[in-house]
């Protein structure tokens, strides 16, 4: 039996995205956004879109693979996959699923994509308008705990309490991420820098989150193309090999009504060791990190759970300077991420990881060979992935 791993077997051959818009700003229908991102990824890879034979997405993306296949005249559809649950926590999971399909011969050329038009459809950041709620929501929503920020703030308060980590780390994450967006013309917040004063003076959304601790809501689409390692070598772009990708969460993370036994985590404690084991590397080998920011507190927890620093070291380690692409010990969210590039549900973090491996980031980390992504902290399932250049295989 061959070794059961994704390491080095598949690669990202192309990435693409639409223009990123403010929420409600896209004139295109959501399906058009999806198509444009997929075509852009194919163009980037130099692959005829008709050769695509599989699709993977997450968070119940509304753009059905069969409709896409028909619209694009795809010759044969072999893989139509949806990562179940967890919202943005499915990003790296969708990559893992696509990679597994290609590595095992289920399909040959799989697109991972996500499209969002929150103008056309419902917003994330609002509570439900129904007169009544049943099941688990009946235990939270009538008490005014209804938005994602309100669902996750509770975990972060407990985390700050248990560990002594301070909100200064949140501020560092936000400032570094915004700083990176200032060099990225794709970013919605390009040309709109964030200062420490502006961060401090911003209103509370829900304690412990102020405005700039929270992700944006945007319209747009992003896509990437996964093929076998052998094939990637012959294509247009420098391949970003997948070293590892995992999805899931800890024991009973989904216990209803905030009863997860490990409550003060971002759900990664069981995934992080599995990811490093598959990738055959450790946190010290990671050159650049793209960490999903629904809220900055979740980024801080993810960084700690992935072993970049301990709880005790966090206040000293997670500073603005340390998180910058230029000279930082842990360059973070180098495109501007969900906070400042675009809330493309975290898929923009994965395309950015690929660009770092290629040497094409707007905030290129010198000689980046290993780029890591953590997707969707504090939800279940979460997921993570590591990409590498040929020299680390």
């Amino acid at each position: 039996m061959t070794e059961r791993t994704l390491r080095g077997k598949v690669a990202v051959a192309g990435v693409g995205e639409t223009t990123y818009y403010k929420r409600g700003g896209a004139e295109d229908a959501e399906f058009v956004l999806a198509l444009k991102a997929i075509l852009a990824a194919c163009e980037d890879a130099g692959i005829d879109p008709r050769e695509v034979d599989g699709f993977a997405s997450y968070s119940n993306d509304r753009n059905d693979p069969s409709r896409i296949s028909a619209a694009l005249g795809i010759k044969e559809l072999k893989f139509a996959n949806m990562q179940w649950g967890g919202g943005g926590g499915g990003g790296s999971g969708a990559v893992a699923n696509a990679a597994a399909a290609v590595a095992t011969g289920v399909a040959d050329c799989v697109v991972v994509f996500r499209a969002l038009a929150q103008g056309q459809f419902a917003r994330f950041g609002q509570g439900p308008k129904a007169p009544g709620v049943a099941g688990e929501p009946a235990y939270t929503i009538p008490y005014g705990m209804m938005s994602p920020a309100q669902m996750f703030a509770m975990r972060c308060t407990r985390h700050l309490h248990e560990t002594g980590v301070t909100r200064d780390t949140y501020k560092a994450v936000s400032l570094a991420t915004y700083a990176h967006a200032q060099n990225n013309p794709r970013a919605v917040m390009y040309g709109r820098p964030l200062t420490p004063e502006k961060y401090d003076e911003a209103r509370w959304i829900v304690e412990p989150y102020q405005l700039y601790d929270c992700c944006m809501e945007n319209d747009g689409a992003a896509a990437l193309l996964i093929v076998s390692a052998d094939r990637a070598k012959d294509l247009k772009q420098k391949p970003a090999y997948i070293l590892g990708a995992t999805a899931g969460s800890e024991y009973r993370n989904g216990a209803p009504c905030h009863n997860a036994p490990l409550y003060a985590t971002s759900s990664f404690t069981s995934l992080a060791p599995r990811l490093y084991e598959m990738a055959g590397i450790g946190p010290k080998d990671v050159d650049v990190l793209q960490s999903y920011e629904n809220f900055t507190g979740g980024v801080v927890m993810s960084i700690i759970e992935h072993g970049f620093c301990s709880h005790e070291e966090a206040n000293e380690f997670l500073t603005y300077e340390n998180l910058l692409a230029k000279g930082g010990k842990l360059p973070l969210n180098t495109s501007g991420g969900n906070l400042a590039e675009c809330y493309m549900h975290g898929l923009e973090l994965i395309t950015e990881a690929v660009r770092q491996i290629r040497g094409e980031s707007p905030n290129q980390v010198d000689n980046a060979k290993v780029a890591m992504v953590t997707s969707g902290p504090m939800v279940t399932p979460v997921s993570n992935s590591i990409f590498g250049s040929e020299e680390v295989l």
């Binding site: 308008k129 099941g135 009946a138 008490y143 005014g144 938005s147 309490h161 209803p256």
Partner: protein, 149 residues
């Protein structure tokens, strides 16, 4: 309780019994100011929120047991930004996560009554206040909490 005694404004989604009847004993208990939660008849494990099977021993024979309506603050948040029309212009409010040490440390979400700007201490003892919405179209009860003593 008159409407002005409700912690949050009216118009938020009301809690409805689970369609499959899973939480009926809990909802019935609230009508009589009783806090009734799940406990496995087979292995005595406490379980919350309700589920059809015991997560420890896989028995479907789950009992319901009345517990003292007290607990302590496990975590909290103060919401400022209104995300529902009913909360517009309302101002901040506190949501707390309460653990019940006498019932296997199960946790419940509720509001922490009193000054919405109060300082909150994790670990503080709290007691339940049953907030009956008898005038609602489908009457319901919320379990709220206030600092004890």
């Amino acid at each position: 309780m008159s409407n002005t005694d409700y912690y949050l404004p009216e118009g938020l989604p009301a809690p409805m019994p689970a369609r499959d009847g899973l939480d009926l004993p809990y909802r019935k208990g609230l009508e009589e100011d009783k806090l009734i939660v799940q406990r496995c008849n087979n292995c005595k494990t406490w379980q919350w929120g309700p589920e059809w099977i015991c997560h420890k021993c896989h028995s479907f024979d789950l009992g319901w047991e009345e517990v003292a309506p007290t607990g302590r603050i496990y975590s909290w948040e103060r919401a400022w930004h209104p995300v529902h029309p009913a909360l517009k212009d309302h101002g901040p409010y506190i949501v707390a996560l309460i653990e019940l040490p006498h019932a296997g440390n199960i946790r419940m979400v509720g509001n922490l009554l009193g000054d919405p700007r109060q300082e909150i201490e994790i670990g503080a003892d709290v007691e339940a206040v049953f907030e009956h919405h008898k005038d609602a179209k489908m009457p319901f009860t919320l379990v709220q909490w206030r600092v004890a003593g």
